[in-house]
């Protein structure tokens, strides 16, 4: 079973009386345990593709299957539940909740969704331990370094045991050395767990940490 199958996906935004095509007949397949780099300039449609793959946006037409689940025609409510259960996100500016500790930032995922309580707490502890943050669980984001915050964000993306993790410019705010470290970490964590990932970037140096690179320009994909 593939982690992601996009078939002939189109996304059109109305702008005034006309339309803007953000994604034009895009098709893409992401295999199990595969890390894909999605590279393109600003406004190329990277964000739209990522949002559709993550169940944040619905396509105007075409088919989206994530982990065997066809989400093309999901309602907003169904998409919310889907995001809770099937995908993980790491956002560009990390976006940790500033008043929550590292452990609580992971636990938030459970709080927003299934509310299992204790098991989720244990999972959060285990993840932080594996990410080398065992000593930092009670620290607020403001007390963590940039790299540590990035690791907390990765931990948060893994909390729901996702089929697919989506990284939005994970190194854009980091210097070259730290960026490389973070990409190493992403690669090892994904590979260790056998989880597929899409890494959106406009930095070509990132691509060497990925299995495959796809270019996107003006909403069109090319390998």
């Amino acid at each position: 079973m593939n982690a992601l199958e996009l078939t002939d996906v189109r996304k059109v935004y109305p702008v005034g009386d006309s339309e803007v095509v953000a994604l034009d007949h895009a098709s893409l397949t992401l295999g199990q345990n595969e890390i894909l780099a999605l590279v393109g300039p600003s406004g190329s449609g990277k964000t739209t593709l990522l949002s559709i793959a993550g169940g944040i946006l619905s396509p105007s037409s075409g088919k989206v299957v994530v982990g065997g689940e066809d989400i093309s025609d999901y309602s907003n409510g169904q998409l919310t539940r889907f995001r809770q259960e099937k995908v993980g996100f790491v956002f560009q500016s990390v976006n940790l909740v500033p008043f929550l500790t590292a452990a609580e930032n992971l636990f938030v995922v459970d709080e927003l969704g299934p509310r299992t309580g204790k098991p989720a707490r244990a999972t959060a502890g285990k993840l932080l331990d594996e990410l080398g943050l065992a000593e930092r669980t009670k620290n607020l984001p403001s007390q963590l370094s940039g790299g540590e915050r990035q690791r907390v964000a990765i931990g948060r993306a893994l909390m729901n045991d996702p089929d697919l993790v989506l990284f939005d410019e994970p190194t854009s705010a980091l210097d070259t050395g730290l960026g490389a470290q973070v990409m190493e970490l992403i690669r090892s964590e994904m590979k260790q767990r056998g989880i597929s990932a899409i890494v959106v970037t406009h930095d070509p140096r990132i691509t060497e940490y990925c299995d495959r690179t796809v270019q996107i320009v003006d909403g069109e994909l090319s390998a």
Partner: protein, 366 residues
């Protein structure tokens, strides 16, 4: 929910000012409410205490004891009305009382009642020259067995016990036999002197709706009320209550607007955070519930501080100055109204929470 509570705990500073404002508003609500209760209580106690189903005044008295006169013939007519079991005379005279130990110009205002049917809390009709005193008179230095001198005639009245919540026109009351009252009235108020067996009003015991049958039976020579009706008919009671309730209503509206304003501002500030939470699978419902939780907690804290402040105020204000009556019931009502205002106020932010797009979390830098 938990996130919302954690934010309150970790960042109390940002809610401080809103809590201060809500506290001030809560104090206002409770103080105004207490003032209303105190005013009403001190002007209606004596009537509320009457043990009967009807209070009968004479025709044109406008529910004022001082202007009402019930002659023996009229009393007999009332006693003949179907459903009347017993009728007892009632009368009052308001005088200045000289309290032993107080300065010669330092008088306590009292309302001396003469009654035939003992009001609630008054054990019996006391012997001539004695009376039960309302507890509020203790703040004027009145004590058990003390003899007060009433009015310019210095009529002596010995206090044989105390009763509570029987104030009349904001004055402490004394409860005496009809003879005592008639004698004191005649000695001190020659213009209001009443002949033997003439009373100001009648307290009637009988069946539940006896009050509605009396006036038709006396050809309109009486003006009868249920006890509750008589309380509301006391001049000023209705308009006081209405005016205060309007002020309280607008104050609640202010609380609502303040909460609405505060949380609208906080929501704007958190748009990015809400986008992230929604992208992570958070529902609008969950996020809004967090907002309401914060509003409720802030309101509860404010109400708790205000409640204590008002209780302290009640204790500090000397008895007999501001007629403040702070009850737990009034505090509870205020809290409930404030909570309702807080929840409705949050409603203004609901649209904004719903409108937050999870897609906003993606593709945006710091």
């Amino acid at each position: 929910m938990k996130i919302a509570l954690l934010e309150l705990r970790r960042r109390p500073g940002r809610f401080l000012m809103a809590a201060v404002i809500m506290t001030l508003i809560a104090i206002l609500l409770m103080f105004l409410g207490g003032l209303l209760d105190g005013l009403i209580k001190s002007s209606t106690g004596a009537i509320r205490a009457q043990d009967g189903q009807a209070l009968v005044y004479s025709q044109t008295s406008e529910a004022s004891l001082l202007r009402s006169r019930i002659e023996p013939a009229l009393r007999a007519a009332v006693e003949d009305v179907d459903g009347v079991e017993r009728a007892g005379g009632l009368g009052v005279v308001q005088l200045g009382a000289r309290v032993p130990g107080k300065g010669p110009r330092d008088l306590a205002g009292v309302a001396l009642f003469g009654f035939e049917i003992p009001p609630k809390g008054v054990p019996d009709v006391p012997p001539r020259g004695t009376a039960y005193a309302d507890e509020t008179l203790k703040s004027d230095g009145v004590e058990q067995d003390m003899t007060l001198l009433l009015g310019p005639a210095r009529s002596p009245i010995q206090i044989v016990g105390f009763v509570s919540d029987t104030s009349f026109s904001g004055q402490g009351s004394l409860w005496a036999s009809p003879e005592t009252w008639r004698q004191v009235l005649g000695a001190n108020r020659p213009d209001a002197r009443l002949a033997e067996n003439v009373f100001q009003a009648l307290v009637v015991q009988g069946d539940e709706d006896v009050a509605s049958r009396i006036d038709p039976a006396t050809d309109g020579r009486t003006d009868s009320y249920t006890i509750e009706g008589a309380v509301n008919a006391i001049p000023g009671v209705e308009s006081q209550r209405n005016t205060f309730n309007q002020i309280l209503g607008v104050t609640i509206a202010i609380a609502l607007v303040v909460i609405a304003l505060f949380f609208a501002l906080i929501t704007v500030e958190r748009t990015a955070l809400y986008g992230v939470l929604k992208a992570l699978g958070g529902r609008s419902r969950t996020i809004f519930a967090g907002l309401v939780t914060q509003a409720v907690v802030v309101t509860l804290i404010a109400a708790a501080i205000a409640g204590s402040a008002v209780l302290v105020l009640d204790a500090v204000i000397p008895a007999g100055s501001i007629p403040l009556d702070i009850s737990l019931g009034r505090i509870a009502i205020s809290v409930v109204l404030l909570l309702a205002a807080a929840v409705v106020g949050c409603g203004f932010s609901l649209r904004r929470v719903l409108r937050v797009d999870p897609a906003s979390a993606i593709g945006r830098g710091s």
